[in-house]
């Protein structure tokens, strides 16, 4: 599919699934919160300009906030993730740099690259989100615990979803 269409479609689909399904799932007494819309941000092309990345992240977060009654919580967290994502990409770049055809998927970059990047980005998103949501210092620690477990759960979900929807190809 044409990437110009694929990217908005990915963002729309992940947002819709988050709003309609995943926001209602709170597993393990709140220690398993799914933020499926972040997958849309993680799948943006590797050469996306940092400012565009943050603006798209803010838009995605705002849409989820609106429908999940988050009151800015998801927007703020998505923007934080959008800021750090280019740094994470740079840290994980191959010695010769990314190729034009590289995509931020398991199929293109391999499970190890995908896992480290996803876990790092989700950790930033979730630590930011649960710290804000805690609202009190005495709840921060349990919030961070939720951030770690939710990150692992999301990573697993993203890996399974991408394996299911993307055809197997040659890994780097």
């Amino acid at each position: 599919m044409n990437p110009a269409l694929l990217i908005p479609l990915q963002l729309l689909l992940t947002c819709a699934l988050q709003v309609l399904f995943f926001q209602n799932m709170a597993l393990w007494e709140g220690y398993g919160i799914l933020t499926f819309h972040t997958l849309g941000i993680l799948l943006l092309p590797l050469n996306t300009r940092p400012i565009i990345l943050m603006l798209v992240s803010a838009t995605v977060g705002a849409v989820v906030d609106l429908f999940a009654f988050g009151g800015g919580l998801f927007t703020s967290s998505a923007v934080a993730m959008g800021l750090f994502l280019p740094f994470i990409n740079r840290l994980l770049a191959p010695r010769e740099g990314y190729e034009v055809t590289d995509e931020p998927s398991i199929k293109s970059m391999g499970i190890q690259w995908f896992s480290i990047r996803t876990i790092a980005a989700l950790l930033i998103h979730n630590l930011w989100m649960f710290s804000l949501e805690a609202g009190r210092w005495n709840l921060i620690l349990s919030g961070w615990g939720k951030a770690v477990t939710s990150t692992l759960l999301c990573w697993l979900l993203f890996a399974v979803v991408l394996q299911l929807v993307q055809a197997k190809g040659k890994k780097r």
Binding site: V19, L20, N24, A26, E29, G30, I33, P50, I51, M54, L55, A58, G61, A62, D65, L66, F67, F69, G71, G72, L73, T75, S76, V79, A80, G82, L83, L132, E133, A134, G135, R136, N138, L139, S142
Partner: protein
């Protein structure tokens, strides 16, 4: 001017981040966890229609119908009980049956969505109860749906009393354990024991008096200067909540307006 431009160009990413964060955080701080306003009403309408559909699919139709009939009958009986009481508040109480179609119970600022709205007489400020226990209050309504915040929301205070004639304090959930809240500002001289009822005072105009919040928990109270902070075990099981009643004391607006008058006339 050129230096300023160079500065903006050099730090454009961080500046955009700060602007976006400022917008998001001001939204977050202004809402204080209370979803309110025009956009919320719009989202409530759109999404609740979907959630209502999901809820409908997941129901076993017959059982659901029977449950709702029982619920409506309960609501009628409660209204009738209220009319036969001598209490001023109870005289004016009406009960509306509703179903929880969506809720969050695991966050620090939780909310729930009900399948009844303005068309069914639901109004902002109404109290929500289930099986005789206080649950929360309505904060926003549309024609068909309403959204409320439960006792387990760490930004809210509730006026509560220990027993029928006991000490009055401020009941609050501070996050963490979802089965207990804390009753603040109870005088040290107050007499109570674990298991005593903690009930509504009716002062806020959200609930009629004597609706159960919970019971004094089997824990030592905390000393806070001249006062005690008493742990309270909620009567409601929030996570299994499905059918509720909305109660209207019709006095919430009157109390708010009286408080407003007092505040304006205060020196």
């Amino acid at each position: 001017m050129r230096n300023l431009w160079n500065f903006i160009v050099q730090y454009q990413v961080i500046l955009v981040f700060m602007v976006l964060q400022a917008l998001a955080l001001s939204w977050f701080i202004s809402s204080r966890g209370y979803p309110k306003g025009k956009w919320v009403r719009l989202a409530l309408d759109w999404e609740s229609a979907w959630q209502g559909q999901i809820s409908e699919w997941s129901h076993r139709a017959e059982l659901s119908d029977q449950n709702f009939q029982l619920l409506e009958e309960n609501a009628r009986l409660r209204s009738r009980m209220g009319q036969s009481s001598v209490s001023h508040f109870k005289n004016r109480s009406q009960f509306i049956a509703a179903e929880v179609i969506r809720a969050t119970w695991t966050q620090n600022q939780n909310h729930f969505v009900l399948d009844q709205g303005e068309n069914n007489g639901v109004q902002i400020g109404q109290g929500v109860i289930a099986n005789g226990a206080a649950i929360g209050k309505i904060i926003e309504t549309t024609q068909k749906y309403s959204i409320g915040i439960p006792l387990i929301h760490n930004q809210l205070d509730w006026s509560a009393r220990i027993g029928n004639s006991g000490a009055i304090g401020r009941l609050k959930w501070e996050g963490g354990d979802r089965t207990t809240g804390m009753l603040f500002d109870i005088p040290r001289s107050a007499a109570f024991k674990p298991g005593d009822s903690v009930i509504t005072t009716g002062f806020q105009g959200v609930f009629p008096p004597d609706i159960l919040f919970g019971t004094v928990a089997n824990e030592e109270p905390y000393f806070d200067g001249e006062f005690l902070n008493v742990p309270v075990q909620w009567a409601a099981e929030f996570q299994s909540l499905r059918y509720v009643h909305l109660t209207d004391t019709n006095d919430g607006a009157d109390i708010d307006s009286l408080e407003g008058t007092f505040n304006h006339s205060a020196p």
